[in-house]
Amino acid sequence: MALRIAVCVKQVPDPETPASAFNVDESVNRVVPAPGIPPVVNGFDLHAVEAALRIKDTGDAEVTVLAVGNDFVMDVMKKPLSMGADTLVLAEDPALEDLDAVGTVNVLAAMIEKTGPFDLILAGRQASDWDQAHVPLGLAERMGLPSVTLARNVEPQDGKVRVERALTDGYQVVEAPTPAVITVSNEIGEARYPTLRGIMAASRKQPERLTLDDLGLSAESLQPALSLKRLFIPESESQVEIIEGEDEADAGRKLALRLRELNLI
């Protein structure tokens, strides 16, 4: 029987947006979308898709992509399909615009209940918008499943999963019984590029859409537990002193002397 893998992906503003194009509307505590820069699938989530597809490359597996949000851009959200995932399931609703982690966990859990069961639930290590790194951990606690974070390799085995977990200095090998929630990090290696065939196949697929009603959830049950009081762009206070010289080597020499003068080295 095919291994069933769910991958949670989030649509986020492009994190490579240059700082000069990044803007905040402080009166409503919101990020203003940068004009002309489309959103992307969160980078680490593509690493999670890659982890799922590597499992599918070597065995019998079915990959379902789950996303919660609003205003999905279909060209963007179909990327996992064009990489080789089988199905895309979207929970899209204006009420899902400003979800916090607790709300997101509730919606994802309901989606998994509806489209599961899954042997593995993969997610990115963190979403590059709010940088929280906790939705998958919450999902695991909420569903009563074990969780392992920061995978650089994911290997399902009979009734369990073996994960190489990246540490700041090295790695751990952890085994957990399945079903389990695993977050994937960039140490797994580059996510594959969609092939032309993949893009064609994805363009013919339609996502499955679930409303809050379908999921048996009400907007009231998704109120945030943390309230955002202020969102602002910090002032950069630093005034750089550019060291010049007769040529680049001379500037390097003068830089060393300047640092020495101030007793910094």
């Binding site: 503003p13 994190p15 700082a19 990044f22 990020v31 709010w130 940088d131 929280q132 790194a133 906790h134 951990l137 919450g138 606690e141 074990p146 969780s147 392992v148 974070t149 073996r162 994960v163 977990r165 990246a166 540490l167 700041t168 200095d169 751990q172 952890v174 085994e175 957990a176 019984p177 960039n186 580059e190 945030p224 537990a225 943390l226 309230s227 955002l228 009081k229 202020r230 969102l231 602002f232 762009i233 910090p234 630093s238 005034q239 750089v240 002193e241 550019i242 060291i243 680049e248 080597a249 001379d250 500037a251 390097g252 020499r253 060393a256 300047r258 640092l259 020495r260 910094l264 080295i265």
Partner: protein, 330 residues
């Protein structure tokens, strides 16, 4: 419900420096009105090297010894999460603080969801909101492009993880009381197993502790230039770091990575070479005192946060810099 519970970590048998930073954050909250005292919980299989003296700022130290808690417990951190949940039940603190380390970044949220309370990750400031009496935190968002201030709603336990390197530890020796807590029943529910831990630490000074760091990015063009960086680090007794781009390219191991998803560092001098200064990289530098940049692009973002800079090709600038440093060192 009262008091602040600080979740400590052990490094080389003693209370870790990052936990001393947490105690400073806790002390700030206590000074601003969170009553009930500060307890520091420390977990492990052998805590004989841990003493109250290592924990200035703590009113009490709670030792939780159990074989299941060795080296931070199993890889999913099941055991420590269960142990802290049990301790929470007996102490019901108002606030629980973790450091945003390998351990805290996972254990903090897991505990929060287990208790059904909110958590704020990776905070760089924490304060008491004078209007509500509840905790407010400041955290970088959107890769550090913006800062967000959050308040905790409701009246439940408030859990936060604090970015290492932003609070200065309290000086001096601690004199808190010491108690023990038995978590053996709680930790019996562990499900995942830690098969092995492979430590890949570069020799010499740890990046987190280094006073001088020279860091390389995509602009170095390959792995070889990192040898030049290492030479300079050796002369100055410092450490070598890297941007994610250099690590992802395989030029150096990911243990060199500095930034939002790498290490947080706090050197006196951070010399960046061929790094553009993306907000996610700068996120690791909130504790760096003097950022110095060598970059051939005068418009690079790094110059916005740097104190000193040279606009030029590192291949020309760096050898002259290193030679001068050598001369100065005599």
């Amino acid at each position: 419900m009262s008091g602040i519970l600080v979740i400590g970590e052990v490094q080389d048998g003693a209370i870790a420096p990052v936990s001393a930073e947490l105690l400073a954050a806790a002390r700030k909250l206590a000074d601003e009105g969170v009553g009930g005292g500060i307890s520091l919980a420390v977990m492990g299989d052998d805590l004989s090297g841990v003493s109250a003296a290592q924990a200035p700022g703590a009113d009490s130290i709670v030792l939780i010894s159990n074989p299941a808690l060795k080296d931070g417990g199993t890889g999913g951190y099941d055991a420590p999460v269960l142990a802290v949940a049990a301790l929470n039940e007996s102490k019901s603190p108002d606030v629980i603080l973790f450091a945003k380390t390998d351990f805290g970044a996972v254990a903090g949220p897991r505990l929060a969801f287990k208790l059904g309370v909110p958590v704020a990750q990776d905070c760089i400031d924490i304060a008491v909101d004078s209007e509500t009496g509840r905790v407010a935190v400041t955290r970088p968002v959107f890769g550090g492009n913006a800062l967000a201030v959050y308040g905790f709603n409701g009246d439940g336990t408030q859990i936060a993880t604090i970015r290492p390197g932003v609070f200065d530890p309290i000086e001096g020796e601690g004199s808190g009381s010491v108690e023990e807590f038995d978590a053996s029943e709680a930790v019996s529910e562990v499900r995942s197993t830690l098969v092995e831990t492979v430590v890949q630490q570069s020799e010499g000074v740890r990046l987190e502790d280094a006073d001088f760091i020279i860091s390389g990015g995509r602009g170095l063009g390959g792995p070889e230039p990192f040898e030049q960086l290492q030479e300079l680090a050796d002369v100055l007794g410092g450490a070598v770091g890297a941007s994610r781009a250099a690590c992802d390219a395989g030029w150096v191991d990911h243990s060199y990575q500095i930034g939002l998803t790498g290490k947080s560092v706090k050197p006196t001098v951070y010399l960046s070479v061929g790094i553009s200064g993306a907000s996610q990289h700068m996120a690791g530098l909130s504790g760096a005192r003097n950022i110095v940049a060598i970059n051939k692009d005068g418009d690079a973002n790094i110059f916005k946060s740097a104190r000193f800079g040279v606009v030029g090709d590192w291949e020309k600038v760096l050898p002259a810099f290193t030679a001068t440093v050598r001369d100065l060192a005599g």
